[in-house]
Symmetry: C2
């Protein structure tokens, strides 16, 4: 039985719209089509891990509309442990409204809903935690108590106080960022990249289509993307994290963790939505072998 | 018993958002709060008339989600006749997503949903019809067959072909426009305002806070707004039309129709949403008398 990975952050309901044009001030624009998808970084990762057969738990704040939306049942059906879900009956669930025009410009509106209460809550002590975008005070609190901390501040970095960011980094064993975010982490803390590498055992920096680099124990390991016919890049980062974290907890070498992450991400980009078409462990393994050769024996 | 007013156009479900800023290209903006409201010009007018005690019918195309949304029951509870509603089970209902920032800039996305099928349908023959924003081909078809035509092209004027616009105007007994739209009607048809007045018995032009002018039988009658503490201007125009049309069908003199319209509009602006706080006939009468003096005997 795998160790439980506790994933902290949003379970959001996303409405994704195709529009002719982004509506600017005092404009009205027609919608071509739109659909509802289940999303939120933490929930995407939790479902990704569960789909691969891992043992995971979602720590998230949801509104009174969450059960009726069908999302709760979806998570349960995937086997995600919801025993630490915070349910705020009189609040709305976290939602994003994302408008994409014909030139792929996006305009997003985001409602934190129930998640705004996370900052008031006393976090539980958990064993292995992955902190996705979430309230920075809650993340700082849970990082202090956890046995192992994987940290992914993502686009919410702008909402972190210097104190919360420094406190989390002190407790972080593994950091996920993209090339812009790592620069911002340095700027906010007054540290250079080498200082961060000296503090944190494993730092993974993603470079979109150029893949990722894993900085681990003085080494920098380049991981290529697994190329597929991409339909929608949303969710690729979350899928990468799901594969990486489960491989890591299953004690695969760090380079293999990256390659497994990269393989899982390739499934996320080939269909619309963040949680569609995610692979089981065996399906992932087959594509891994097509791209990276023989899948290593588990350790 | 009043004659039936058949109102043609949208029954839309509106999501109205308060946001910090309008999200332009590749921006993400937080939502302060948002709520769902029942709207759509035709449905607003139908509910306004029904609330005043009039006899009205909504001719609209709705999706499979319409009954579950609660909107169908809301219309039925108000006594609106839905026997000519077109139900497209596999389509979505018409929806608008309206984002308003702190400086009252608005950005709107609009999905026609089921309404896009109106153009394929053969309209029924009805007695007294009010054409709100809707498909121009359907509006042209129903105008040809109706006994009396009230026409309000509204913001959809840009979607009208010259042929459809001219065909409807030939059959129109009463035209509602704002000051911008009347200019566009002239531009599109190559007619001057006097030509329009010569064609159509009653032309009502609205001027926002400056009230409206009714052009009727060579006269121009100025109707002031009824001033209240305004919270939300949305729906004022529809409420004005509801009051005007019911008064007209009840044979009040045209100036009284305008004053009744103006009184009903004052209720719409004092609360958020287009269908909230609409008055009954007696409640409307009381405010009418406070503003315009004794309410005339019915004729």
């Amino acid at each position: 039985m795998d160790r439980v990975i506790s994933v902290v952050g949003h379970a959001a309901i996303d409405l994704l719209f195709d529009v002719e044009n982004i509506a600017i001030h005092n404009e009205s624009q027609p919608i071509i089509d739109y659909h509802e998808y289940y999303g939120g970084g933490a929930a995407n990762i939790a479902i990704g891990i569960a789909r691969l057969g891992g043992n995971c738990q979602l720590i998230s704040a949801v509104g009174g509309d969450f059960a009726a939306s069908g999302y709760e049942a979806e998570l349960e059906n995937h086997g995600v442990d919801l025993s630490l879900l915070y349910r705020f009956k009189s609040e709305k669930s976290t939602r994003a409204f994302v408008f994409t025009d014909r030139e792929h410009h996006q305009s997003t509106y985001f409602d934190w809903g129930a998640s705004k209460h996370l900052q008031e809550l006393e976090p539980p002590a958990v064993d292995f935690v992955h902190l996705a975008t979430s309230d920075s005070t809650y993340n700082a609190g849970i990082a202090k108590k956890a046995g192992f901390v994987s940290f992914d501040p993502g686009q919410d970095l702008v909402t972190y106080s210097k104190e919360n960011l420094e406190s989390i980094l002190e407790n972080t064993n593994m950091l996920f960022t993209n090339k812009h975010e790592i620069q911002r982490v340095c700027d906010m803390t007054g540290k250079c990249f080498e200082d961060i590498l000296a503090m944190i055992e494993t730092v993974i920096v993603t470079y979109d289509a150029e893949g990722s680099i894993i900085h681990n124990g003085g080494e920098a390991i380049s991981i290529p993307v697994v190329t597929v016919k991409a339909l929608d890049p949303t969710g690729a980062g979350d899928a990468y994290r799901a594969g990486f974290l489960l491989a890591y907890i299953r004690n695969y070498p760090i380079e293999i963790c990256g390659k497994i992450g990269s393989t899982v991400a390739s499934f996320a980009v080939q269909s619309i939505g963040c949680q569609t078409d995610l692979p089981t462990w065996d399906v992932m393994k087959a594509r891994y072998e097509q791209n990276f050769g023989k899948f290593p024996e588990s350790i």
